[in-house]
């Protein structure tokens, strides 16, 4: 499991309009592109230096490809990164269809089985 690597994906894709559009259009292709071109770069700013040992689990890869923010919450991906990136992907469409905050409220409802419980930690 690499919560760190999941967070790194969310962080980099959310901060780049090109990657973000690609993540909306074809998540599987973008994930492969990110792993090849971004994920193994050292940190988030280097272009030459590499990190050789980071990789996703099958469950993490599936959750990212399926935009499955419930699974990501349960993995312990950072709540702010998850919320921000999926708002970017879905908020406008939901708001147009169902009014302001419709996406955010559905997001909360899909996590309602966690009400009253300790959430999975986002600590690394």
């Amino acid at each position: 499991m690499s919560k760190y690597y999941v967070n790194k994906f969310l962080y980099q894709v959310d901060a780049d309009p090109d990657l973000l559009a690609a993540y909306k259009a074809d998540p599987e292709a973008l994930l492969a592109r990110w792993e090849e071109s971004y994920g193994t770069r050292l940190g988030t700013k280097h272009t030459i230096e590499r990190t050789t040992w980071l990789e996703f689990t099958t469950a993490e890869r599936r959750a990212l490809i399926e935009h499955d923010y419930v699974a990501l919450f349960e993995i312990g991906a950072h709540f702010f990164l998850c919320l921000t990136i999926y708002i970017a992907l879905y908020d406008d469409d939901y708001a147009e269809r169902s009014g302001p905050l419709a996406f955010q409220r559905e997001y909360a409802a899909r996590l309602s089985h966690w009400l009253g419980k300790d959430y999975p930690t986002v600590a690394l």
């Binding site: 905050l101 955010q104 409220r105 600590a123 690394l124």
Partner: protein, 292 residues
């Protein structure tokens, strides 16, 4: 010697500008007018203090800094600071700013913190996010004063303790008091009351824990650090909402003010948070002087 003319502790709501100005009047939320009026009244508490220089306390929300290298405490030391990231413009419609810095005071603050046992990180290429720009927009929209930005980690756990935030506030206060400049300094910090983001209690009709909010405002307003240190833990903040840890920066601001009663306290129940606006006047209440 410098004068600490005001200490402001406030929640930062990134949608303030969008909700109260950028959205056409007919599409605004019902609370928009009241929200704007409360913010303008709060702004007057800073204006009355006639500050020349702002010590700003905030926290990077994974904008410039990420978990490959996330500083616990960091200060900027630069002649100028860019502000507002692409994804903040995208989501919140926050404009870009360039704020003047004050390298000499940043350096003095950095050395003073090291001397007091706070081993800060320092950045010479810091870009400021909404934790600092939101209070600029609300309390000093002219964005015309030099700033000394201080970042804390309230965001990427494990976090320093509430006591550490209080002690850091006390240290910052003593450094401001010793600064040999003649400026009138105001310290402005932003954080949160109970808050949930990306969890099942997000975007409800109120903040996730109105009971915590009531206590938190009362503790801060009365300067009751004992009650805070007795009641506020990482676990109690998590129980109040998964992003409630921004309250730590409000504790820090009370540390700058000291265990004193606040001069100005206001709040607003919004659709998913309670907003709080609090001001202390360590050098005396300038509004009282005007009234007299």
């Amino acid at each position: 010697m410098a004068t600490l003319s005001a200490v402001l502790a406030t929640t930062h709501h990134p949608f303030f500008l969008k909700a109260t100005e950028l959205t056409p009047p007919e599409d605004r939320i019902p609370q928009a007018a009241e929200w704007k009026s409360k913010v303008e009244a709060y702004r007057a508490t800073l204006t009355a203090a006639e500050p020349d220089l702002l010590v700003m306390v905030g926290s990077d929300h994974f904008h410039q800094f990420f978990a490959d290298n996330y500083p616990t405490f960091l200060i900027g030391k630069q002649p100028r600071y860019d502000a507002t990231f692409y994804n903040e413009e995208r989501e919140f419609s926050i404009p870009k700013y360039v704020l003047e810095g004050h390298e000499e005071f940043s350096g003095y603050m950095f050395q003073g913190l090291l001397d007091r046992g706070f081993d800060f990180s320092i950045s010479h290429e810091l870009k400021i996010d909404h934790s600092i720009i939101c209070p600029i927009i609300t309390t000093r929209p002219e964005a015309d004063l030099p700033v000394v930005p201080i970042y804390t980690n309230i965001f990427a756990p494990p976090l320093p303790s509430p006591k550490r935030f209080w002690d850091l506030g006390r240290a910052i206060r003593s450094i401001i008091d010793e600064w040999p400049g003649t400026q009138r300094v105001a310290a402005i910090g932003s954080g949160h009351l109970s808050l949930e983001l990306g969890g099942p209690r997000q975007f409800g009709e109120t903040g996730p824990d109105p009971v915590f909010d009531r206590k938190a405002i009362d503790w801060l307003a009365s300067g009751d650090i004992e009650a805070i240190l007795e009641n506020v833990t990482m676990e109690s903040m998590s129980a109040a909402g998964n992003a409630t840890h921004g309250f730590l920066d409000l504790i820090l601001m009370m540390g700058i003010a000291g265990p004193e009663k606040a001069a100005y306290v206001d709040e607003l129940d919004l659709f998913h948070t309670r907003e709080m606006y609090m001001t202390w006047y360590p050098a005396g209440d300038p509004r009282a002087e005007v009234a007299a």
